[in-house]
């Protein structure tokens, strides 16, 4: 893959002074996706499922074709894909529908401090309501989830293991395949937060044997307003819907109603039609480049950058060994929000904060971190500009007395 060529696909990068290093928050969008959205609105922008006229048929076909693309993308079956508003919504769906209806005070839910709030808070809620116990995997000295440590907390009481595939703060890849297998031995289901994995690596839900897996469109070149929940068919079949209304029902009577089959019973109302179609376009785009190529490229940029950062004084890196394209760091003595404005002044977009993952920030014992995250459109030149800016920032802040 050639990032210099790929950059041309991203209208926002027409501003050549822009150095975008915040993909972990949201990726930029290629024109291939924007055009597909426009095409929907300009050519067949009508509702799906409901009409029996031709335009509506076309819209429905395109919407369901997007579902097929998503299912192929992660090697799932067509009817195992539920479209949601985003990864957060998808993870909440599992917690509300599966969690609230399957757990009791006898049970345990395993999570970790490495989770995004959207993976830990829904299970806190399930724990509060069902009285199931929330159990944290002890992280290793680097802040990783290891198979060994999962074994320490896994037991016959474990009913749910809810963890990330790739951490949005540390960029570590969790050994989920082994963990899933261990969890299944004790009869637990595993919920994978793949928000940071789907954009960057090939996912095979059959090979992983995972039970639920969630991700968002906007982090993988797709539009906002769309996410995906994968669930094993036999699990989804036995879960109640959590939203009720148009299009998810079969027969409706005054005091009761029956539901459509999966996935439709979980998709009430007019779905995010353009968003699903746009996500399909994003998948086409990513596959045309190759997920593994993208992952390798990011990792290379990250390795290069880390090496250079280590030559600068007062730089603390929290996740040197990450296998992906994420670097969390700070400039010693400088509040990350002060630092990030310096980078912004150089038109370098990156994040400072807790990254919606306060538990790992607390674990690191810092107030916040700076984070850069690379993607297919980043180049060595981006890294060099960033490194130069870090050097200048460090010198500047020290010079004014930080």
């Amino acid at each position: 893959m050639n990032p210099y060529e790929l950059r041309k696909d991203f209208p926002i990068l027409n501003d050549e002074t822009l150095c975008y290093l915040d993909t972990a928050a949201s990726s930029l969008k290629p024109r291939q996706v924007i055009e597909r959205l426009d095409e929907y609105y300009e050519k067949y922008g009508v509702n799906v499922h409901r009409g029996v006229y031709n335009l509506s048929y076309v819209a429905t076909e395109m919407y369901e074709e997007a579902r097929r693309k998503v299912s192929d993308f992660i090697h799932a079956k067509f009817d195992e894909i539920i479209f949601t508003r985003g990864a957060s919504s998808a993870l909440n769906l599992v917690a509300s529908s599966y969690g609230l209806n399957h757990l009791t005070s006898e049970d345990e839910i395993i999570v970790s401090e490495l989770e995004h709030h959207s993976q830990v808070l829904p299970w806190q809620n399930v724990s509060h309501i069902t009285k199931a116990k929330l159990v944290y995997i002890p992280l290793d000295s680097e802040g990783r989830i290891t198979v060994e440590n999962v074994k320490k907390v896994l037991s016959n009481k474990t009913k749910v293991v809810a963890i990330n595939y790739i951490s949005n703060v540390m960029g570590y890849i969790t050994p989920i395949k082994e963990i899933i297998s261990l969890a299944h031995e004790v009869g637990a289901v595993v919920v994978i937060d793949a928000a940071q994995a789907a954009p960057h690596k090939t996912i095979d839900v059959v090979d992983l044997d995972c039970d639920f897996l969630a991700f968002s469109g906007h982090k993988m070149c797709g539009p906002t307003g769309i996410g995906v929940l994968f669930g094993k068919k036999k699990l989804l079949d036995n879960m109640p819907p959590i939203e009720f209304g148009g299009d998810m029902n079969d027969n409706v009577n005054l005091y009761d109603a029956s539901w459509k089959d999966v996935p439709y019973k979980f998709e009430t109302g007019t779905p995010p039609i353009s968003e699903a179609i746009g996500l399909g376009a994003a998948i086409d785009y990513l596959l045309s480049i190759g997920l593994d190529e993208i992952g390798k490229h990011e990792f290379k940029l990250k390795e290069y950058t880390v090496k250079k950062l280590k030559e600068i004084e007062d730089i603390i890196i929290y996740n040197e060994s990450a296998e992906t394209g994420i670097i969390s760091f700070n400039i010693e003595g400088v509040h990350p929000h002060d630092a990030v404005s310096y980078f912004d002044g150089d038109n370098i977009c990156m994040r400072a904060g807790h990254h919606c993952a306060q538990l790992i920030i607390k674990w690191l014992n810092v107030v916040a971190t700076l984070r850069v995250s690379f993607y297919l459109y980043n180049t060595i030149e981006d890294c060099d500009r960033f490194i130069e800016s870090v050097r200048n920032a460090r010198d500047f802040f020290k010079s004014v007395g930080f």
Binding site: H335, H337, D338, D344, G345, G353, V400, F402
Partner: protein, 143 residues
């Protein structure tokens, strides 16, 4: 070098490193307001003592970036001893300056004038205004 310099002139650093009027008191004559900016973790508490239409004292405490912490200190120094009317005028002038709105340049902002540079960093305007907003809150409580 980018144009962040304006944001960190001597006075900001001075107040960041050596905050004035820092630390809260337990005294019912003080009105207390606590404001957080959850998106970046700034967390500031302001206490104001008003007597006979005068701002007798302002205290502050909290955590945050240098802009946030220093501006609490600068605010306390600037407004202490002013009449309520003047303090309100200065505060609203300051907020207008930050947010690139028209503001009355005849109002004396004293040290707070250095935060003018923040208006070029819209993402940081909140940091520079949170202490002032909290102060305005304490006045509302006093009324």
């Amino acid at each position: 070098m980018n144009n962040l310099e304006t944001l960190y002139r001597q006075v900001i650093m001075d107040h960041y490193k050596n905050p004035r009027n820092k630390g809260l008191v337990t005294n019912s004559l003080y009105k207390t307001i606590h404001i957080k900016n959850p998106s970046c973790g700034d967390d500031i508490t302001i206490q104001t003592k008003v007597e006979n239409g005068l701002i007798k004292d302002i205290r502050h405490d909290g955590t945050g970036c240098s802009i946030c912490c220093s501006s609490a200190s600068v605010m306390s120094e600037t407004l202490k001893g002013k009449t309520i009317t003047d303090a309100k005028k200065i505060s609203s002038t300051y907020i207008n300056m930050l947010t690139n709105q028209e503001y009355d340049t005849s109002v004396e902002l004293e040290d707070a004038i250095v935060y003018q540079g923040v208006s070029k960093f819209p993402a940081r305007i909140k940091c520079a205004s949170i202490a002032w907003k909290a102060f305005e809150g304490t006045l509302e409580e006093s009324e």
